[in-house]
């Protein structure tokens, strides 16, 4: 037990691999697929195979699938495990391109959901699938208790009906983790998640969205019409346990929010690194010892951005560290997502401003990063939802008191 906030050396190789992928694969094709929206970056297939190989090795993880918690582990010694390594790898990969990371086969947020709440049998069965996440509906966004997609038990199956929007990688993935209610009148406790594989009759990808950013990632609308799903594909308990409330499905977020925070951290780092180079070329050097107010205004601005970045990065590390050590981390997960989400947007936009016309033009990736980063303050819980969660935790308030 010694306070230490350095990244453990054992993750060095993993980080280096992710940096190589970012630099050699993502960056060179980043602009191409930003302009060719809805065209699948076929370069990713080869990469996915490579990553599957990397994931096969124990303690480290390259991303979304590393978030499973081992609650049976009685060893109380300090651990830096797959939550941390997975997020570190996501940070480095998103330094390359956020949209590519979101399009990585078998690295979807649905995979993180499966890793978080599936039982061992399901985990093995869905292991090879690329899964996306379907929560949002046309009628609701943040208020996920308002799920209207229904699941009705019929023999050994459930019949799903409803429409899901904003499904990241929904067009390309092999399966979708769908949130549906068993009984709308019973509220949150009746909401369950189902793994629905592509090709299941009654499941139709209706359209793909045109977006502000993350254009290399497809965002789909999927309709379920009398879609028959095996009961074994329901994750968690099939019982409606009102006393447990929303716990089951919401648990996913404790693991996925630090991942999304990591995406914002990686994207913002890309902008900081770029502006640092550009400022140096313009003759502006940042001095960490001299007071900011005695330096060039751009250097002072850089110091502010880097300070916010560092806070976001360490809050993200804290949330993953707690997950790796089986500590409840809802508060820290939301803190990391709130801080990283907002500073990710602030930093990338400020870097465009500092770089001027060059930063605003498509000659630079700065403008792209400032479009990409905005989604990271929205999906997996908006800035405002994170603040609500943090406030409820700190103030010890229920969702009915603090709406």
């Amino acid at each position: 037990m010694t306070i230490n906030l350095e990244i453990p050396k054992k993750f060095g190789m993993l980080i280096n691999q992710a940096q190589q992928v970012s630099t050699e694969i993502f960056r060179p094709i980043s602009r191409k697929y930003d302009q060719a929206e809805h065209e699948y970056p076929k370069e990713l297939d080869m990469l996915a195979a490579l990553i599957d190989g990397m994931n096969a090795s124990g303690e480290t993880s390259t991303g979304a699938r590393g978030v499973r918690r081992d609650s049976s582990d009685k060893d109380k010694s300090n651990k830096n495990g797959t939550n941390m390594s997975g997020t570190l790898s996501i940070i480095e990969a998103c330094w390359g391109d956020v949209a590519m990371v979101l399009s990585m086969p078998r690295q979807g947020l649905g995979n993180a959901a499966i890793a978080s709440v599936a039982n061992d049998e399901q985990l093995a069965r869905f292991d090879k699938l690329w899964a996306s996440m379907a929560i949002t509906e046309p009628g609701f966004g943040s208020d996920s208790a308002e799920v209207t997609t229904t699941a009705v038990k019929d023999g050994d199956d459930y019949i799903l009906n409803g429409e899901k929007i904003f499904v990241t990688a929904g067009g390309r993935s092999d399966a979708v983790v769908v949130w549906a209610t068993l009984d709308k009148s019973l509220g949150r406790a009746a909401i369950k998640s189902f793994v629905v594989e592509k090709g299941t009759p009654g499941m139709v990808v209706e359209r793909l969205e045109h977006k502000l950013g993350i254009r290399a990632s497809d965002t789909a609308t999927i309709r379920f019409t009398d879609c028959r799903v095996p009961a074994a594909n329901l994750m968690g308990s099939p019982e409606i346990e009102t006393e447990l409330g929303f716990g089951g499905v919401m648990q996913t977020f404790d693991n996925t929010r630090p991942l999304v925070a990591g995406m914002a951290v990686g994207c913002a780092r890309a902008a900081l690194d770029e502006i640092s180079t550009l400022l140096a070329e313009a003759g502006v050097e940042v001095d960490y010892d001299r007071p900011a107010h005695t330096q060039h205004a751009a250097a002072a601005e850089y110091l502010k951005m880097e300070a916010d970045w560092e806070a976001a990065f360490l809050l993200t590390m804290e949330a993953t560290w707690m997950a790796d050590n089986n500590k409840p981390n809802s508060l820290q997960a939301s803190m990391s997502k709130a801080k990283a989400g907002r500073v990710g947007v602030e930093i990338t936009l400020k870097c465009v401003e500092l770089a001027g016309a060059y930063g605003y033009s498509e000659n630079s990736l700065l403008e792209k990063w400032s479009r990409d980063s905005k989604i990271l303050d929205i999906f997996e819980g908006t800035q405002q939802i994170q603040q609500l969660i943090v406030a409820r935790r700190l103030l010890n308030k229920s969702s009915s008191d603090l709406k």
């Binding site: 306070i3 300090n78 010892d289 007071p291 806070a311 709130a338 308030k397």
Partner: protein
């Protein structure tokens, strides 16, 4: 030609009305009030107690004499680099933090308001911080009579944080001598350690202060106006140091001065000729009895140079870390205070914390405080591992300066009018938190 200002404050020349107002103000301020004996006795008492007009020579200092000559200076060992990311303090740190937190809660918090008004820390508290917590011994190696087994900047940060949760002004008063003892441990040569350190690990620890700050705008600790020039066997120091804690009673100063353009620390005993202490009460940290230290041709011996330019830079960084830690402690005090307040305070028929506008302010206090604290801890951990920590320190300072102040402001705002009056401590925390980002030196973790 000066640039034309856009605001209405541009070119505020005095016109006829202004001349009249100025004359009236002069009259009201002095003669009328005094002639009619309207100045309240109580106001006078406060004025005296705060020593606002105090100006005197430096306190007489004890004779610091080398007890035993040593071959070489002692330094605490560098802590080994852990293999894993870990936010859990060691068992020893937990014990120290627990004792310090108890002290802050039972001793500092109840005395804070009066000490703020009096511009003075109670003697009993200063003594107990030495006797019970050993603040001047925490950073001193066992071989020099202290309690440290190895270099622990994080322990210093955790202690400063815990003390400031009680009260920042009193924390600064308690920690001021520790900055000097820590500087001697980290940068002192064998002679300096043998001469001065025994006083800091004994029963009768002197007041002492490390000072670099100067009273001019855009102050840069790496471009000091205070100078030291070689003269005979020693040096002559000239300049003004600002916001020096407990300067009137301090027996030993560590003073930053530019020696041939290189910022350098000097040991200056308070009884030296040419030293004047002039009280300088500030917006906050008033319990630290801040004062100006005026050095007018102060002669110090050749052995007064404490470390080199690298040591100076390290002292500046470790000071900034200390202030970041203090901001985290006071920031946490704000958070802990506003939570029950907004939960109990009713408006429009329910607790005000049921409103997002209020609740989100509390959430942001929590988020920014945690972020700033982690960055501060990372810098401290790097320092004790012997890694570079200038970058992390600059970031911690930036965060605590901006968000520390924002937290102080939110604290007052959340209590509304009640936050503005002295019945609640948040107005004091608002004043104290502005020190972070302004102060340099004084603390050394």
């Amino acid at each position: 030609m000066a640039a034309r200002k856009g605001s209405t404050s541009a070119n505020r020349g005095r016109d006829v009305m202004g001349v009249g107002l100025a004359a009236l103000n002069k009259l009201a301020g002095a003669s009328v009030i005094d002639r009619l004996k309207l100045r309240k006795p109580s106001e006078r008492a406060v004025y005296e107690a705060s020593k606002a007009g105090f100006r005197a020579a430096g306190a007489a200092n004890r004779r610091f004499a080398s007890i035993a000559k040593r071959g070489s200076a002692e330094r605490p060992g560098r802590s080994s680099e852990p293999e894993l990311f870990d936010l859990t303090p060691s068992d020893e740190q937990k014990m120290i933090v627990e004792a310090t937190s108890d002290f802050a809660k039972e001793q500092l918090r109840p005395a804070a308001s009066a000490a703020d008004s009096a511009c003075e820390a109670p003697e009993t508290i200063l003594k107990r911080s030495i006797a019970e917590l050993g603040v001047t011994q925490l950073g001193v190696p066992e071989s020099l009579g202290g309690m440290a087994s190895e270099r622990s900047t994080t322990t210093g940060v955790l202690v400063a944080e815990a003390l400031a949760h009680g009260d920042m002004g009193l924390a600064v008063a308690c920690l001021a001598p520790a900055a000097v003892s820590n500087a001697l441990v980290l940068f002192g040569n064998a002679d300096q350690q043998a001469t001065y350190l025994p006083s800091f690990v004994g029963d009768d620890v002197p007041a002492a202060a490390l000072t670099v700050l100067e009273p001019h705008v855009l102050f840069d600790p790496f471009a000091l106006k205070t100078t030291a020039r070689r003269s005979g066997d020693g040096y002559v120091i000239d300049g003004v140091k600002s916001l020096v804690p407990r300067a009137a009673t301090a027996e030993l100063f560590v003073v930053g001065a530019s020696l041939e353009g290189v910022p350098t620390l000097f040991l200056v005993e308070s009884g030296s000729a040419g030293i004047t202490v002039e009280s300088e009460p500030a917006m906050g940290i008033r319990a630290a009895s801040t004062a100006r230290l005026i050095l007018d041709g102060v002669k110090v011996p050749a052995g007064a140079v404490l470390g080199d330019a690298d040591a100076y830079a390290e002292a500046i960084r470790l000071g900034r870390l200390g202030w970041a830690a203090l901001a985290c402690g006071t920031g946490k005090a704000v958070l802990d205070y506003v939570i029950p307040y907004v939960n109990e305070r009713q408006a429009f028929g329910e607790p005000i914390s049921n409103r997002q506008a209020v609740a989100f302010m509390v959430a942001n206090i929590g988020i920014e405080l945690e972020g700033a604290r982690l960055v501060t801890l990372r810098a401290a951990a790097r320092a004790e591992q012997g890694k570079t920590f200038a970058r992390e320190t600059a970031l911690a300072r930036r965060l605590t300066s901006e968000y520390g102040m924002q937290i102080g402001s939110s604290g007052v705002q959340l209590l509304g009018g009640h936050g503005y009056v002295k019945e609640h401590p948040v107005e004091r925390w608002y004043r104290d938190l502005r020190a972070c980002g302004v102060m340099e030196g004084v603390i050394l973790v």
